[in-house]
Amino acid sequence: MAIIFKFVLKSIKEKKFRAFLILFSIMMSSALFFAAGAMSNSMEKMVVDRIRKVVGSSEIMIHAGSDSPSPFVSTAGAERFKEKVDYAVGCITGSAVYETEKKEHIRLNLYGYSLEELQSFNPISFSTYGEVPFVGKRLIVSSLFAKENSISVGDNITITIRGSKHRFSIAGIANDTGLFTDDGRTSAVVVPRETLAAVYGVKGSVSTIFIKPAAGEDKGELIRGLSRVYEKYKVAESIPMEDIKRETDSMTIPFMMMVVMVMLISVFIIYTSFRVITAELMPVVGTFRSIGATRKMTDIVLLSQSLIYGIIGGALGCIMGIGILWVMSRMMMNMGFNSSGFAAAIDFEPQQMGFAFLSAVLLSIVSSIIPILKASKLPVKDIVLNTIERKTKKSNWKLIAGLMLFAAVVTVPPFIPREHALIVNSAVMTAACISIVLLIPYITHVFLRIFEAIYLYVFGNEGVLAAKNLRDNKNMLNNISLLAMGISTILLINTISFSVFKEVTNGYKNLNYDIELSLKDMDRSALASLRRIEGVKDVYGSYITYDVELSDGKSRLIALIGADTKKHLEYYDVGFDESHEVLLERLSQDRNIFISKALQTKFKLNEGDYMTIKTPSGYRDYKVIGFFDSIMWNGQVGFISDKYFIMDMKQRSYTEILIKTSEDVDLVVDRIKTKFKSTSTYISTIRDMEERNQNSNEALFNIFRIFSIMTMVIGVFGVLNNYAISFIERKRGLAMMRSMGMNKLQTVKMIFIEALSGGLIGGTIGVIMGVLLIMTVPYVLRAIDLPIKIHYSVPMLLSSILAGVVVAVVASISPALKSSKFNIIEAVKYE
């Protein structure tokens, strides 16, 4: 036994590149598998971290909702639960404006706390504290704010709250962590709660109550109890884990799709490598079997080899995975997370690492088991006498299986159930790849027939010879498979990214205005004063409620719009074909709603059906009277007339103000900023919004691109390895041709034409495979509520084919050079 192991080790040592290739693909698969899994954890952690900055260690939060009688909630109710809680901390929130020496306006978020209570559940880390009781007109500011405005403890500053000026002295300066983390837009300020209560004129009431249940108390029960007391208020978990999970899970699906591709290419590489490995070790295995080793023993030796690859690859993969995860969460920062108080975080559960490791071992064993078992079934006599029957009869099972899988891949996706999108789609993608790989010999055959005819005229006889050489050439078929898988994965990601870009661009094209604005008071008088600004052509106050629950309690609209029947379609061009007025008139006649086509398919609604919406005044039935195409708010959007919106949603002021300009947009923005400087405003041009949107999408796709590039890298290494193998195998044939008078130039030309042909075929099949994969994507995206239409880019398809050619030709440079140098006689002489 030990001796067979020695042979195994020797064969690993001799074929270093192959060993590297197997390890590399296993490592990459498990690393990306781990990173994709842990990514959703990390995103969860990032979101939770951000929320924790405000909610501290609390687990339950009570605050007013849109249907509450007052924005403030009395702390008296919570008193009754004294025994059941660790703490119940009240907080009054508000906002203020600080004018800097340069006359800039900084928006301050005010948090009214009793310092003692705050320190108990969300402690401030002080840079300096002035040793004064935290009462009266005192403030705690962040280090950043203090530094930027040259403020130190004991100084006095003036801030504007609700239009009136107040003078405060600085009691302390906090480090920029926790509540004071810089979010780039506003600055947190802690004020004594009683002081803020006095300013707002509330006694015994707060904006939010943060609660931590006492040890042993059931959180759910406590929430139910509190809900009964605070009937008209929102009692919820401080960290809405379920919502967060739902969000991050939808991110996991695309990641896992990419992992499937990486795994597939690895399976292919390990499988083909082990076919060669077992063939090489056959004589040794045969000899051992002939002197009494059992089949089991030799199987174990071969399997242990793949086990070793799996273990080493898995271990390396876990380490690598942490690195990739780190890079990915860095890249997440570019998705606009950094501006809202996110910090890069890496988080994973130990099981995930265990799973990744296990996946590596499984990957290695599963991919190598078929060649190993096949080899072990061969009769000893045949191995020893080297009379292993060579396959001569051509079986067509590959063709049949390939075509059947292909048919399945084309027909199944429309029936993918939403709940099982991830699993079913992974299976469909796997089937798509396998079907193409099975069909590759046949597709290649057709290509070669064509090439043989064309090459005579393009490249002369060397071309014909090259085409003939590629027939039934295993190494070339492997290369074509590898190229196809790599290219299709890159194409998949780039096409989706391109489609999203296109869709978003189209989406913004439908917005017929230039500026979006939100002010403190958004009413008719605000519209009027905006209209008076030079360069403002028209103004429209838009009503929107976000995150609207539907009657099933699970589904939500991202946005419900209350539309002004006269103006709405002038601002949002949603591509209606009927005349606008007629449609909008119908909207205002009753509780009618237009919904997006995405919602139409999601809920299978027809015209005349009803959609039940949860409003502050209870459930309301809206009759669906039409559909429109939109990608805004991911297409999870509907609009009703403003009349019913105000009635049902109980919202008086506009959500945002849309402005059309007649002059340079930036100029108008500046004028608006000057005019509204003392009240807090949010203003953005549509152009900037689009840019930010595209950038954050791009950042997301860059993360996916890592995966697709990894697939391609593995593929390219595989191709290089195949070229090395194929050169050794072909040396004799090449020497033969040289002896028959093929000159060096002809040899090189032939090898390059072969590579070119392989690349062309690989690239083209890659495109076919890519398109097949892409065709399944809309169904998956729909399942995660992202109704993206696929846009193909012809230059992208063509450059994919070109990529195949470039990889193949570059990979053949080394064999081509070697072919003109090797010793002919050596290659010809011996059997």
Binding site: R390, N461, E462, M736, R738
Partner: protein, 236 residues
């Protein structure tokens, strides 16, 4: 006593292969191995010559030098009065294509090309159109007796059949010279005889010059002349 039949050399018969003070030395690390020493040979048009000698004496080396597959350390080789050593790779290749046909002990067919394609390789390499040489192919397949096997791949053929394919391949471009390194070394005596008969036929009917390396007296008897090589020297 039955002497080997000698064909009288007349003025009309010109030397197609000539070597002059041919030396070949292999460097094995620091040691120089002199494989061929001062070889002077002259082989005439239409001759069938057998090179014999013990294993390792340098027979194959000599044959490959003549065919231009390797370079001599010193001395000259002339094929059809043209000096090999001054030719570039391209010219030598053309010479191998048009003037020389090789046959090897291990057939050396290209496994994934069928019999037809294997035989037509030299035509392809010479930049000629396959379709212009169909008739020629049929003829040669007839000569080697493999007409019914033309579409098969090499591994579907027996050793003797494969060797006949190799001979057909050596003939397709109608070279003047055929160089064969132990052409029947891998065959049983019956198929060996068949192959030798074939070579003799080609020599007699087509007037090709044949140089073969062989270990067998019977096989050498098919030729006109024997050149004995021992320790890198020729002993006539």
């Amino acid at each position: 006593m039955e002497a080997l039949k000698r064909i009288p050399i007349t003025e009309a018969q010109r030397a197609v292969i000539e070597t002059c003070s041919l030396y070949k030395t292999y460097k094995l690390g620091a040691v120089d191995v002199e494989v061929l020493k001062d070889i002077n040979l002259s082989i005439h048009e239409g001759e069938f010559v057998s090179i014999m000698g013990p294993s390792g004496s340098g027979k194959s080396t000599l044959l490959y030098l003549i065919g231009g597959l390797d370079k001599p350390t010193a001395g000259s080789i002339k094929i059809n009065s043209k000096e090999l050593s001054v030719m570039k790779d391209k010219e030598q290749s053309i010479l191998r294509r048009r003037d020389i046909g090789f046959v090897f002990q291990f057939y050396n067919l290209i496994p994934n090309l069928n019999i037809e394609d294997n035989i037509m390789l030299p035509i392809l390499l010479d930049g000629k159109r396959i379709r212009d040489h169909r008739k020629k192919l049929d003829e040669i397949l007839e000569v080697v007796g493999l007409t019914d096997r033309r579409g098969h791949t090499p591994r579907e053929l027996s050793g003797g059949q494969q060797q006949r394919v190799a001979i057909a391949r050596a003939l397709i471009n109608e070279p003047d010279i055929i160089l064969a390194d132990e052409p029947i070394g891998n065959l049983d005596s019956k198929t060996g005889t068949e192959v030798m008969e074939l070579l003799r036929k080609i020599n007699k009917e087509k007037g090709k010059t044949i140089v073969q390396v062989t270990h067998s007296r019977e096989s050498a008897a098919y030729g006109d002349r024997v050149i004995n090589v021992k320790d890198g020297r020729v002993w006539q």
